[in-house]
């Protein structure tokens, strides 16, 4: 589905947290996973900006590892603050989706 960017904006950070929660990973792999999931519009630059924000907010642990060729890659893993943020994200998600579904079903 195209043109999801606007709607995805607030939730992409939670998606990235969830992906990192499953295993330590890096920007390119995260982008690929989101693409395979069906979010074709998501580019590595978008994910990069999110990763920077997560790092700045102290939600991830960053390790630099040498890659086959080219500069070393940054790998991301969740820390305790990140896991807490992720569970808050899912709570908010449940809240919103429950209410929006209710609205769609007639609103009462």
């Amino acid at each position: 589905m195209d043109n999801l960017t606007e709607m995805l904006k607030g939730t992409l950070e939670g998606c990235v947290l969830e992906i990192i929660a499953n295993e330590e990973t890096y920007g390119y792999a995260i982008t690929r996973q989101l693409n395979e999931l069906g979010f074709a519009d998501v580019v590595e630059g978008t994910v990069y900006a999110i990763l920077l924000r997560l790092e700045k907010n102290g939600l991830v642990q960053v390790t630099k590892r040498p890659s086959g060729l080219g500069p070393p890659r940054k790998f991301y893993a969740l820390n305790d603050a990140g896991r807490e943020e992720l569970s808050t994200f899912w709570e908010k998600w449940e809240y919103i989706t429950a209410r929006i579904s209710k609205l769609k079903g007639g609103g009462r």
Partner: protein
């Protein structure tokens, strides 16, 4: 950063030159994106531009990494380089000189009003 560098900004010039040296070895499309990123990011400059150095360093790192992966710039940044730059600058907490002016203006107006009122 020493006093001389603080006053003249010579450290920034040096760092920016180092960026351009790194950018020079990138493939053409990545190099073009780099030029565009520099232009966009400068909107978020503080008075000296010192706040931009880490942002540009990161963006250049991304270009280096992705070019060595063999990705095209379009795959990496999509169509919205301006949006990418805004997200980076926002993510780094960089505030533009316009935010500062706006704040200053608001403060001054509030002060004036306070004086009139009291």
């Amino acid at each position: 950063m020493n006093f001389w560098e603080t006053i003249t900004g010579s450290d920034i010039t040096r760092e920016w030159k180092a960026f351009d040296v790194r950018a020079a070895v990138l493939p053409a499309d990545h190099r073009a994106a780099w030029e565009e990123i520099k232009g966009h990011v400068s909107l978020y400059s503080d008075f000296t531009g010192r706040n931009l150095t880490p942002i540009l360093d990161g963006a250049l790192g991304l270009l280096e990494e992705t070019s060595s992966d063999g990705q095209s710039v379009h795959e990496v940044l999509g169509d919205d380089i301006a949006g990418f730059c805004a997200a980076l600058a926002g993510g780094e907490g960089a505030r533009s000189y316009r935010d500062r002016w706006r704040e200053q203006l608001n403060r001054n107006v509030a002060k004036k009003l306070g004086r009139l009122g009291g």
